[in-house]
């Protein structure tokens, strides 16, 4: 991982960096696994329909929820990598110090947004749980809060990620970016 190569100026162990590594395995794994199961569910449905002419009533709904899981965990991983799409035109014009200050301000602003949705996302999950709501089409008799729970979890983790990036900038004077850039492996 990238932070192994970074010099640690103070000589202290980079605990925040170590946490980043552990978290990125976790989010990446969850996002990738959600995507794998999503593909598996849709494929099984195609085979069942094409070969045996039967359809699983719940498969489409489950696939949709898995897509949402893929999205939020994938977005969390992208947050960790500082790989979200953004306009860098103006920040690129800044000098090094000003640029880092601007990046910290941006990261903190994003952290506020993520924290708000972690909190209200938790509220949403609580509401659904107390009302005993089940998933939309009710072909899948599973409480919807199980699927919705990705919102508070992912946003909470995003908040942590954004704050870790701030720490990283303060410590190493640069924005953390992993080698696995978001753009397709080229």
């Amino acid at each position: 991982m990238s932070n192994r190569r970074e010099a640690i100026p103070s000589g202290l162990p980079d605990r925040a960096g170590a946490l980043r590594v552990v978290l990125s395995r976790f989010e990446g794994w969850l996002a990738g696994a959600s995507m794998f199961f999503c593909l598996a569910v849709v494929s099984v449905e195609i085979v069942l329909r094409g070969v045996f002419n039967v359809s699983l009533q719940w498969s489409e709904e489950l696939a949709r929820y898995l897509l949402i899981w893929t999205t939020y965990w994938g977005a969390t991983a992208a947050t960790a990598d500082n790989a979200h799409i953004r306009v860098e035109l103006l920040v690129n014009l800044l000098g090094r110090k000003a640029r880092l200050a601007a990046e910290i301000a941006i990261l903190l602003l994003c952290a506020v947004g993520a924290a708000v949705f972690a909190w209200y996302g938790y509220g949403l999950v609580e509401d659904s749980r107390l009302l005993g709501l089940t998933s939309g089409d009710s072909n899948l008799a599973v409480p919807i809060w199980i699927f919705q729970s990705v919102i508070p979890m992912a946003f909470a983790l995003m908040t942590v990620r954004l704050l870790l990036s701030v720490l990283h900038i303060l410590r190493f004077g640069k924005i953390p970016r992993p080698e696995d850039e978001l753009i397709l492996e080229v």
């Binding site: 959600s34 897509l67 949403l124």
Partner: protein, 420 residues
Amino acid sequence: MATFLTIVMIVLLMVGVPVPFALMLTGIGAVLTFGSTSLTTAAQAQFANLDSFVLLAIPFFILAANVMVRGKLAEYLFDVMHAIARPVAGGAAVGGAIASALFSAMSGSSVASAAALGRVTIPQLDRLGYPRVFSTGLMAAGGALGNLIPPSIVFVVYAAMAQVSVADLFIAGTIPGIMLAGMLALISWYFAKKNGWNPPERFSFSLLWTSFVRAAPALLMIFIILGGIYSGWFTPTEAAAVSAIYGIFVGLFVYRTLTLRDLPDIFVQSSKITGSMLFILATSVFIGMLATMAGIPEAIFAQVRAYELSAWQFLLLINVILLVLGTFLDGLTILVVLTPILLPSVKALGIDLIHFAIILTLNIEIAGITPPVGMNLFVISAVSKTPLDVVFRGSILFTAVMIIGLIIVTYVPGLSLLAL
């Protein structure tokens, strides 16, 4: 207040706040000021905005693209098209343009097309004497066909937002896509002939045959995806799943460019790309909210009425605005921000929603190849190790070609709608 929030959003985007967070922060601001809905509802709305079977096509197309970028499919496709185009001047560039169109017919992403083909063709074009300023521009523009030629991620996102059929969009994009590929091929032929790059070579049937056999699994994939969608055998989502599985199968067992151990990593990478794209779509729900609260779509339509704009004048104006926005914003952001705002006016002016989608998509293609911010230019520069300023200069000619294409597609709706 709504005007203020709109300005806040633009400022947040411009100072470099990542797009989904800029949209989220604006949404929080809108909820707090207007108070007509709660933040809990806003959290729910994000979730609901993604709850669509149509959108499932996106991760699968990204997965398929990621598999193909790793494999040698792009190289084999280029070899076949080059073998066919050998007898004309600029045969390799013409082959590269056509191969871009074919790769686009397997991949839903223009960045993937540019990356995969740019990497294999640009070194070959170097060898035949094409300057980088030409070859990088060509391959960036060729990659941009990726969104117009089905399958296309942009179409899937638009279909989910505008509630139109993905299959219709896929059909509508085909002829404009082929037309643009033809224009790129024509330009390649013209410049190669004029400058004496890559003179005609002797046609060789054996070369064509061997390259065809190698490329056959790739060509079969195009047949499966497009044939499946056009015949109604698969929904676009299912076609995407089939293409991902077929791509993995071919990579593992036919071309052997993949091993089972690569797969977890491919899934993780693809899910990150999916996450960053669909997160923007999830948070775009706030644009819709803000626009509705502030009456922005109505205000725009009132202006359209006030100036008595006809459909063609409106489209001209939209094209100009999109071209300007496209120089610094990426295509997906343009798509999710503008679609909800513009659709009411589009409907009221009697413009076909499918035709409008094709115009919007073509603008997004152009956004990808216009400096200073153009995803395809960055990718081409990275894969071919060409300085960015050379790629930027190379993009000028091809942007001009694409704009001519845009004008034709805008004012000849039949190109998009005839096949429906």
